[in-house]
């Protein structure tokens, strides 16, 4: 009996399989992973082949930048301009990296692995928890969960895009518009980001007839960067969007 009791005590010490952080991380992984279907289909419609669409999900693995890359290509922009837009859109991940480093203090190989899965969703899941052990679980479950599902559904989406044929007949160009608006939307949490978005949209329209395709996006990036650097609003504007499902904060559950 004594051994059974101590075994029970040991079991208690092991964290349960589903803690609040792992639950949130897992549901975010499913919601986010699913929308790789739209990325995969749009990537093929933009003219990339299956391997190129997959390479971006496996290696770049930051959804906004991947959508940016294929969005520029779809609009007739050069691969160089696609690279520029994708890279600039990934800059926020350096800020997330700092936050995760401060929370989790990963070392050695874990640090290299953590860097690859440092994205909006994993950062938001970790930041939504206050207990360090929960932050760690939330980060890894969301990060690795999104990574695995994102890559699986990328392939599914690319195959679907291939099967659809004429992208315009299915409104896939409209799907791209909706996808970008959907990525922007959760970051418009106050008046300032709405103002930034409006000014950058106007700058883009003005630049379209003047510069080669893809470059208007970089013009808007310059406007936004200068606005952020010299403006005086809060430091977190545009970072940590509300990710789906929306209840990522403990207090909103």
């Amino acid at each position: 009996m004594h051994t059974a009791a101590s075994a029970m005590a040991k079991l208690d010490a092991v964290p349960p399989l589903m803690t609040p952080a792992t639950k949130i991380g897992a549901s975010i992984a499913v919601a986010t992973g699913l929308y790789a279907i739209s990325y995969g289909a749009l990537g093929v419609a933009a003219g990339l082949n299956l391997w190129q669409v997959m390479a971006l999900s496996l290696l770049m693995f930051t959804g906004g930048s991947q959508f940016a890359f294929i969005g520029v290509i779809a609009g007739g922009g050069s691969p160089g301009a696609a690279f520029g837009a994708a890279t600039l859109l990934g800059v926020r991940n350096a800020v997330y990296g700092m936050q995760i480093k401060a929370m989790l203090r990963p070392r050695g190989l874990k640090k290299l692995l953590a860097a690859q899965v440092t994205i909006d969703e994993s950062t938001a899941t970790a930041a939504g928890q206050s207990d360090p052990a929960e932050q760690k679980r939330g980060f890894w479950v969301a990060g690795i969960g999104v990574y695995v599902l994102w890559n699986i559904f990328t392939v599914a989406g690319a195959l679907l895009g291939d099967a659809l044929g004429d992208p315009k007949a299915w409104g896939l160009d409209g799907a791209a518009v909706a996808a970008f608006l959907g990525l922007l939307w959760p970051r418009l949490k106050s008046a300032e980001p709405i103002a930034i978005a409006t000014v950058c949209a106007l700058a883009t329209v003005l630049a379209i007839p003047l510069v080669p395709p893809g470059v208007p996006i970089l013009v808007a990036a310059l406007v936004a960067g200068v606005w952020g650097y010299f403006g005086r609003g809060p430091a977190t504007e545009g970072l940590e969007p509300d990710v789906e499902p929306r209840a990522t904060r403990e207090d909103s559950e």
């Binding site: 770049m60 609009g75 608006l181 980001p193 949209a201």
Partner: protein
Amino acid sequence: MSEMWWWIFAGCAAAYGIKLLGYLVPEKILENEKMTRAAGTLTIGLLASLTIVNTVASGTAVAFDARLAALVAAGVALLLRAPFLVVVVVGAGAAALARYLGWG
């Protein structure tokens, strides 16, 4: 290897390098409030610009066509708090419908 592949690999390397930078650089250097802010506003500006480019750009011309219907429909779906994938499907449906009805 094609030019496209080179830019894809360069983009992937840059994306990973940026992520890793947050873990490697001493906190003091990146913990500059102006840099954090610029990273955030950059994200907003780029996504707004990408939305508009995909809506109205046709090469180097501005064109108003079925994609505008997608933008409006997606906006309505987001106001109704639809999940991301639903928003994308609504956008595609709106553009396809507008085109079917002979616009754009």
